[in-house]
Amino acid sequence: MATVVTVTSGKGGVGKTTSSAAIAAGLAQAGHRTVVIDFDVGLRNLDLIMGVERRVVFDFVNVISGEATLNQALIQDKRLENLSILAASQTKDKDALTEEGVGQVLEQLAEMGFEYIVCDSPAGIERGATMALHFADHAVIVTNPEVSSVRDSDRILGILQSKSKRAKEGGKVHEHLLITRYDPARVDNGEMLSKEDVCDILAVKLIGVIPESKAVLKASNTGVPVILDDDADAGLAYGDAVARFLGEDRPMRFVTPKKQGLFSRILGGGD
């Protein structure tokens, strides 16, 4: 039985694809056979974040419509042997994602022995997003500590609790809150919602807090999931989040302001 983990947020630009890439790579690093699927038909980007953009021949929609087999469309990651990527179509209409078609692909992936299927949901609440949500066993809600992102996350929670397959069958999708672009110094100054505030409002269990970090842009520039960057606070924070997802108990790191040394204060550097 494969576990479907959907990474979602409602609002765009909060870090869904970055998080999907990091979580999928983290699960693979932990020894689990993992596939990550881009559900953003028409605007694919996961391939770029994973650094496989030049290796995409067939995509998710090709597989659903029978133009290619899953084996032809899956891209094997070159860094992690446990990890495969299924790109979204760049051209096809998003209506190509049918419930039946998506369900069959997920089933086939499970039969191939994948333990985790990470679904990178597009922004919004249109077809691609609802399809990614529909089959979720677990949902990682990516939220920035900012009003519109929190509100949209709550909308997505509502959809998960009423429209997902699990909900319709009388069950429940496991919900996890992942706060990204967190700036502890601004939280301390009362300029940014704290992680406790966001948890209070959304009433979802916190799985990780990813600090605002220059490493995220660097990772996307080079097409390497940020979790593979051991020197970056954001990478380590994703590592913690994946470990918690797998049941480990880890304290939150990078949630208090960095103490600036005398040197960096004088020189005005420091990230």
């Binding site: 900012e146 009003v147 929190v150 509100r151 709550d154 909308r155 509502g158 009423s162 939280v187 301390d188 100054n189 009362g190 300029e191 940014m192 919602l193 704290s194 505030d197 209070d200 409002i201």
Partner: protein
């Protein structure tokens, strides 16, 4: 910063304002989220039944669901024509 806050007369921070606004908004949106899926259909069916006996206009039937504590109240309002 906490010390500074003491002297500046505990001005409400923008983060506190954000939290308050979100809590009000989200509790309101959550109330509307549950249940009303069937309300438009229910309204249409009730209207059809009423119309069998009395000539009423479509906008003269209103229906709403209120939640107070653990009880839900379904409120139906039909404005009958004067004659």
């Amino acid at each position: 910063m906490a010390l500074f806050g003491l002297f500046s007369g505990r001005k409400k921070t923008s983060a506190a304002a954000a939290k308050e606004r979100l809590q009000i908004l989200i509790s309101h949106e959550r109330q509307n989220r549950h249940g009303p899926d069937f309300l438009p259909d229910l309204q249409r069916d009730i209207l059809a039944v009423v119309k069998k006996y009395v000539a009423v206009r479509d906008d003269h039937v209103s229906i709403r669901l209120d939640r107070a504590g653990d009880a839900s109240v379904l409120e139906l309002n039909v404005t009958l024509p004067e004659n």
